[in-house]
């Protein structure tokens, strides 16, 4: 199976799973906005399982899913990668946001506070 980019629904499922504990498909279905079909959630979970992003444990007649990050990925050299992407990506990779200076962070807070005051 070809690997797909982390899609919107996958991200939402992961978000719910990341919030905590093993969750069943039915519980997930109620927690994802937009009222997705049970089979859709199942497909997403299956895909995540295939990618090794979640594990499942049998609980009676159903499975409970849990988010997993392969700990073997945390060997020293990969750790460097993580830190590099977390701090200084350059060249062809661009991050959602760059790190702010304390002044910028303060300015940003002020802008937001000012805006909330207006609304």
């Amino acid at each position: 199976m070809s690997r797909r980019p982390l899609g919107q629904l996958e991200a939402e499922v992961l978000a719910v799973l990341a919030a905590g504990g093993p969750v069943s498909t039915a519980e997930l279905q109620t927690q994802i906005p937009g009222d997705p079909a049970y089979t859709t959630i199942n497909t997403i979970l299956f895909r995540l399982l295939d990618k090794g992003l979640v594990t499942r444990t049998r609980d009676g007649r159903q499975f409970r899913y849990e988010i997993v990050v392969d700990e073997s990925r945390l060997v020293a050299d990969r750790m460097n990668d993580h830190l590099r992407f977390a701090s200084d990506p350059s060249g062809v990779l661009s991050q959602f946001v760059e790190i702010l200076s304390p002044q910028d962070a303060a300015a940003l807070r002020q802008i937001l506070e000012h805006r909330e005051g207006v609304e």
Partner: protein
């Protein structure tokens, strides 16, 4: 060779310097395209000029070899290139080539390791989201990001990164850092280009989410999560891209420039493209007498 030899490189270079300092009054989508085009043609024109000066200097040193060169590669006059010009030209051509290949190698490893990592989530509490180009790419997110954001906020992040991937922003980034790497004075142009690409993706995200204020708050939230600073620090000045992006999103949506955008891009593309062609001696090579 005469002073006109330097003209194409000089004009594109000056244009790059100006565009690195003065923001274009266009939608970020058009600004990014114009800046990317100018960065690419400036590098071509400058490297091309130095390369041909180096070739002609070599030809005046070794007339035997010069006889084997195609006629278009030579400036076609009998004035030999002086050493004070020829030697730096050789040095600049070599450093330029080395820089280009070094950058290319670095990207290849960077993208490959990011592709490898984008199979899963990054095991870090730092909220990270990176668009990884390529068939095996996708959005590389960290556990910290997924944990810290609501699903609606995650949608903003993913729409933003999806826009980067959809419009192949990594190509612009590559051109920009190539320009900044080979010609350090173009760093400002590269920074502005990167900023325009972020703004472009922000606008795309705002369009699909349908709430500019929410996109602004999400960007601010992620940025502030990454920079826990003690409250009370007074803002000296807000020059960072994030602050400008948030401010832009809190304002009205920029016009799409359906006419002025393409017109600006076409004009700059044609002029700087022609200048780059001249610098690369392709007008002689292809017998383009109109240039």
């Amino acid at each position: 060779m005469n002073w006109f030899t330097f003209l194409p490189a000089l004009i594109t270079f000056l244009l790059s310097m100006v565009l690195g300092r003065v923001p274009l009054p266009l939608h970020p989508l058009w600004s990014a395209r114009v800046l990317g085009t100018v960065a690419a043609t400036t590098v071509l024109a400058t490297i091309g000029t130095f390369f041909f000066i180096a070739v002609n200097y070599g030809a005046s040193l070794l007339p035997r070899v010069a006889d084997r060169l195609p006629e278009w590669a030579l400036f076609g006059d009998d004035h030999p290139v002086p050493a004070w010009l020829g030697l730096p030209a050789i040095a600049l051509t070599v450093t330029g080539t080395v820089t280009v290949s070094r950058l290319a190698a670095r990207w290849a490893t960077e993208v490959r390791s990011a592709q490898e990592l984008s199979r899963g989530l990054l095991e870090t509490d730092i909220p990270v989201a990176v668009a990884v180009p390529g068939r095996r790419g996708g959005v590389l997110a960290s556990k910290g990001l997924i944990r810290a954001l609501t699903t609606a906020e995650l949608q903003v992040v993913f729409e933003h990164e999806a826009s980067h991937l959809r419009h192949r922003h990594h190509r612009y980034l590559a051109v920009g850092s190539l320009a900044a790497g080979t010609l350090p004075p173009l760093r400002r142009l590269n920074e502005r280009l990167r900023f325009c690409l972020e703004r472009w993706a922000d606008e795309d995200a705002a369009e699909s989410v349908g709430d500019r204020g929410f996109v602004a708050r999400t960007i601010a939230k992620v940025a502030l999560l990454r920079s826990p600073s003690p409250p009370g620090a007074l803002p000296a000045f807000a020059d960072s891209g994030v602050v400008q992006r948030v401010q832009a999103l809190l304002g009205a949506a920029p016009g799409r420039n359906p006419v002025s955008g393409p017109a600006t891009l076409l004009t700059t593309g044609l002029t700087t493209g022609a200048l780059a062609l001249v610098a690369l001696q392709l007008d002689h090579a292809l017998n383009l007498s109109f240039l």
